[in-house]
Amino acid sequence: MGELLRPFEFEFFRNGVIVATFAGALCGMVGVIVVLRGMSYIGHGLSHSIFGGYAASALIGVNYVLGAGLWGVVSALMISGVTRRRVIGADAAIGVITTASFALGLALFAVFGRRGRSFDAALFGSVLGVGSADVWTITGLTIAVAVAGFFGYRRLLFTTFDPEVAAASGVRTGIVDAFVMLVLATSILATMQVVGVTLIAATLVIPATVARMLTNSFSRMLFLATGIGGVCGFVGMNASYHADVQPGPSIVLVGAALFTVVFVVTGSRGRRRTIGLIERSAADALRAPGPRRALS
């Protein structure tokens, strides 16, 4: 027991655990919307894209949250612009722009060397650079997103489930969509330091998918995914210290282990619930809900 509690003697670790727990909870909460809207690839791409901005801001000495945030916004606008021209699909646009941005980040570090925040920390996460400012940032952001989600719950649900009818019913779906993108980008920025850009997508997707296997209710899924994300962050950060691996891989592996357990325990019912979560539209096209096929 004493060995388990020993890392809590260090302030950097206490900060890291708090940030990892809140980051996990935040990503779990945001991940529900990301997964149900089939935006997992956008989350994955955006996190890689932001790395380019991270590298550039580290080199020129600009605040990395500002630099990487602006970079993420520019990338999102470029994806949107390329997609709107309909020459290539959204998935291809995300693939080209975000990986190019990621590659640029790697090239900048290779040519100009590593300054400021750690290169490895950005890729795979680190507990060492976490300070009290990060603790307050992630705590405040998680609370702000939870409060906004509480008061915007009905709009979020309707817009995610049936955006067209929601818009026709007077819900301002454009604002809801913009809010979701803003929260996604800020969550990635706030989580990047602990989890790392290469693994953020997993912290968005795994808790939401596990929660979906456990419930058929949107509200319960939100609560469960938030809790699961928080637990994965806490356990993963502790495991990271004891196993001497970076926090990102450790947190993701804890999530993956939980996913495996729930996948086995919930059996075919849980698996049916998650069909098509990632590629929702493609799966829906194949699954006409006739009276016999609709029974689960």
Binding site: L36, F161, A166, R212, S217, G276, L277, D284, P289, P291
Partner: protein, 256 residues
């Protein structure tokens, strides 16, 4: 309630609707028929207000309240939502608190009872039969207290009994004063039973009572295929496997 005047819509420069004139009255009960890609869903969305015409105008009366029932194929059936949560989406605008009030619970219960699906409130939408699923979305539309109900292929993928039930439910709702416009591919099971039919293929080819609109000439111009019209109990019956003046079973046509 809604007047469409010379409405033209296009996607990427390709016209989907062209020169549509349609006046929707408070007693409307209309079926829109036409081949796939003829603009049926787009016409519903113009009425709904989610698609804007590139030419022409749409006038809506002030008291217009529209309920929309989407095509079941477009619904995400794996979405984690129960019947009552789905129906209550109609009560989103202007609501801030996430939980339902006692009044809202009573309203949901009332509309589910009205549609004969009481007791299903806590079930996931995927766990219902095709007819029950259709009723859930009708219930959601009705909870918004509409005076015009738009339905996109309400009987696609359902069996004959369910189609019959849905048609009678819509007839009851129309009798209670609800105007209804629906799209359908089912000429005999649905369209020929309605008081008013519109044959659409980018433009309106013909409209009127089923006897006026479902004629061989109008249907050939609408679908690009020759059909024979019989009459049964005063209603037109459309035969589509029609070749050189007689109905031909598929095996004979392919020569096997």
């Amino acid at each position: 309630m809604v007047d469409l005047n010379a409405v033209t819509c296009s996607y990427d420069g390709t016209p989907v609707l062209s020169g549509i004139d349609l006046a929707v009255s408070a007693t409307q009960f209309t079926g829109i028929v036409g081949p796939s890609g003829s603009g049926k869903t787009t016409l519903l969305k113009v009425l709904l207000g989610t698609v804007r015409p590139v030419f022409g105008s749409v006038h809506r009366s002030r008291e217009l309240r529209i309920g929309y029932v989407p095509q079941v194929e477009t619904v995400s059936w794996n979405f984690p939502v129960t019947v009552s949560e789905c129906v209550l989406m109609a009560r989103t605008r202007g609501r801030v608190l996430p939980w339902r009030s006692r009044d809202e619970n009573a309203e949901v219960e009332q509309v589910l009872t009205r549609l004969g699906i009481e007791g299903l409130a806590g079930r996931h939408i995927r766990e219902l039969s095709g007819g029950q699923q259709q009723r859930v979305f009708i219930a959601r539309a009705l909870l918004g207290d509409p005076n015009l109900l738009l339905m996109d292929e309400p009987t696609s993928g359902v069996d004959v009994r369910t189609r019959h039930d849905v048609l009678h439910l819509l007839d009851d709702l129309h009798d209670l004063g609800l105007a209804i416009i629906l799209t359908t591919h089912d000429l005999n099971g649905i369209a020929s039973h309605l008081p008013h039919v519109v044959c659409l293929n980018t433009e309106i080819i013909g409209e009127g009572t089923p006897r006026q609109a479902l004629t061989a000439d109008i249907l050939e111009r609408t679908y690009g295929a020759r059909m024979e019209i019989l009459e049964h109990a005063g209603m037109p019956v459309v035969l589509d496997h029609f070749h050189h003046g007689r109905v031909v079973p598929l095996r004979q046509r392919t020569g096997s």
